[in-house]
């Protein structure tokens, strides 16, 4: 196509956090709306990575220490890329954004802030989030914003594995023992109030047009796959009301304060230091 830039990074070419940083250093800068959108993408990935990182050395078996560690590491990579890119809107680095913003400046959704609970709850949260994120990145691969498209293309391959991991465990736990069935079902009930927030459109999405993916359009495919997985696992679709949320606008669950306190403590003891 003639209108396409020669430097277009097509899906399949990895775009690591360092590559994004290089582009930003080379003068790529985003407008505030795109920056705000990239913050949402980056914050979801960062907070979930922070949650999952806790499992490393505490998982039910060694293979899961490795698997959950892998997933956390992938998500952290997505977060670093998106936050580096978002930061270019305000002249900030990934670390400025991760360590020096307060709670109300974060744009993460309630779901990723939810505590790990037991392995059943962690898997339930993974199931919901990875199906959602897979739908999201599948669309963002075609984003009108080249950098978002490129980051998503790399991330999508990883999320494909995250989703498979969550589905396999959901089926195993659902069709394992009485106890595992009870626990994964309880996990699903516990995270379900925070599903609706993932699929809400808002003004920013409308303004961004072809840059963003419409959350509301992803609900039907999410529901279809979820129904299929729960059916195979012998689990019930939770009959739970959605909670009032507001993560995208900076209104968070009570949990975020604790997450940030832990994540930011060392960095904030040493203002201006590099690591």
């Amino acid at each position: 196509m003639s209108g396409e830039s020669a430097t277009r990074i097509t899906p399949g070419n990895a775009l690591r956090p360092e590559d994004v940083a290089e582009r930003v250093a080379g003068g790529v800068q985003v407008g505030e709306d795109v920056g705000e959108y990239a913050l949402r993408l980056g914050d979801d990935a960062l907070i979930l990575a922070q949650r999952l990182g806790w499992w490393i050395s505490r998982a039910p078996e060694l293979e899961e220490d490795v698997a959950l560690g892998n997933i956390a590491l992938d998500l952290l990579g997505h977060a670093r890329s998106f936050l580096t890119y978002a930061g270019s809107a305000w002249g900030k680095t990934e670390d400025d954004l991760a360590y020096w913003r307060g709670e109300s400046e974060f744009r993460s959704c309630f779901l990723v802030e939810q505590p790990n609970g037991d392995f059943g709850k962690t898997i339930a949260r993974q199931l919901v989030f990875s199906i959602f994120q897979h739908e999201l990145y599948s669309r963002l691969v075609d984003s009108a914003d080249e950098t978002i498209a490129a980051i998503s293309a790399k991330a999508l391959k990883e999320v494909d594995y995250h989703r498979d991991h969550a589905i396999q465990w959901t089926i195993r736990l659902g069709d394992g023992t009485e106890e595992s069935k009870r626990r994964i079902q309880a996990g699903l009930e516990s995270v379900w109030p925070y599903v609706a927030e993932l699929f809400q459109d808002d003004e920013l999405i409308e303004r961004l047009g072809g840059v963003a993916a419409h959350p509301s359009e992803m609900r039907a495919p999410f529901d279809a796959l979820m129904a299929q997985v729960l059916d195979e696992a012998g689990l019930e679709l939770p009959d739970v009301q959605p909670a009032m949320t507001g993560g995208r606008g900076g209104k968070h669950s009570e949990h975020l304060g604790y997450i940030l306190a832990e994540m930011q403590v060392i960095a904030r003891e040493h203002p201006g230091a590099t690591w």
């Binding site: 490393i56 956390a72 360590y99 201006g272």
Partner: protein
């Protein structure tokens, strides 16, 4: 002291070597003499099997327990890049545990049994992990000194006479050198940072120096089993030889960091061609070994807790696998 007399019962337990054993021993001796490799299906002396099972499983346990001090800092790492590197490192250690348990299993003891030995306190792991990780700089000191000492110890193990162990060590060593480098980089960054950062780095090096040196085990004259391991080509160098080599290595590197080692007796002896260092507190070493280190109880509690909390998950996975196998049989 009375010499131990053999009771009739002991005598009964002494197996009479069969013709097969004699042929096996001859083959084993030949392999060792040629410095080539024993494989799982080969005949091997009971003592060789036992020594290796203990050594490899202890090494595996060390990898697993060793995840804890660093995992503590994953959620607090002060930059996202460092968080990613640390996560990858701790995850690698879980992988090392997996390779090593697999290698140990080839000697006939299943992983669950080895794991139970760890949880019951019957099996040991490296004492270094019973020291606390208190500051971010400890992530640097652990990578540089602890993984560094592990490399010095483990590179010769890549040539261990037992095939699966040697091959596992090759994979492990490749990753350990990345671990050491990331530790060194953390310290380098801190040492050239703010005064508070530099002080944090020096303090971490001060605390981990002696425990890292003790990772090589007791002095040679206190380490009777080493001789047999060396005859079997499991161990290639004595504890003291490895320790001296390590001291020389870090003495060079600490200058690049602009930090110091907390031992002013370190010097290179031109006559012997060896590095010398101050006397280590072996009393402390044995105290920690006996379970009285700052973190022994905490590390074991955490491992047991993870194991117990995960029991229902492992049961579910086993039940699911059994159901699937049954379905496949019916079909």
């Amino acid at each position: 002291m009375a010499t131990k007399t053999q009771s009739p019962r002991d005598a009964q337990l002494q197996p009479v070597p069969s013709a097969e054993d004699e042929a096996g021993q001859a083959y084993f001796d030949k392999i060792i003499a040629e410095d080539s490799r024993i494989e799982p299906a080969d005949w091997m002396p009971a003592g060789y099997r036992k020594t290796l099972t203990r050594q490899i499983s202890q090494h595996a346990h060390s990898e697993i327990i060793g995840m804890q001090p660093e995992a503590n800092f994953i959620t607090r790492a002060p930059s996202l890049k460092r968080k990613a590197i640390l996560m990858a490192k701790v995850q690698d250690e879980a992988g090392h545990g997996l390779y090593l348990y697999s290698a140990a299993e080839t000697l006939g003891t299943p992983r669950d049994e080895l794991f139970d030995q760890l949880l019951s306190g019957k099996a040991k792991y490296s004492s270094i992990f019973n020291y606390p990780a208190l500051t971010w700089a400890d992530m640097g000191a652990i990578g540089w000194l602890v993984d560094g000492a592990a490399i010095v110890n483990q590179v010769p193990l890549c040539r261990a006479s037992y095939g699966p162990y040697g091959r596992a060590m090759v994979r492990v060593c490749k990753e350990e050198s990345f671990h050491q480098r990331q530790g060194f980089e953390i310290l380098l960054e801190l040492a050239s940072g703010t005064p508070a950062q530099k002080q944090m780095a020096q303090d971490a090096v001060n605390r981990f120096y002696a425990p890292a040196l003790m990772m090589f085990g007791p002095n040679d004259d206190e380490s009777p089993n080493s001789q047999q391991s060396m005859r079997w080509n499991i161990k290639r160098f004595s504890n003291d030889e490895l320790r001296q080599r390590f001291v020389g290595m870090i003495q060079e590197q600490v200058r690049v960091l602009g930090l110091t080692l907390p031992d002013d007796e370190i010097r290179f002896n031109e006559e012997t061609g060896k590095w010398e260092y101050g006397e280590l507190d072996w009393n402390e070493f044995y105290e920690v070994l006996k379970g009285r280190g700052p973190c022994n109880a905490q590390r074991m509690e955490r491992r047991r807790e993870a194991h117990e909390n995960g029991a229902w998950v492992r049961e579910a996975a086993a039940a699911y696998a059994a159901k699937k196998a049954q379905k496949a049989q019916v079909a």
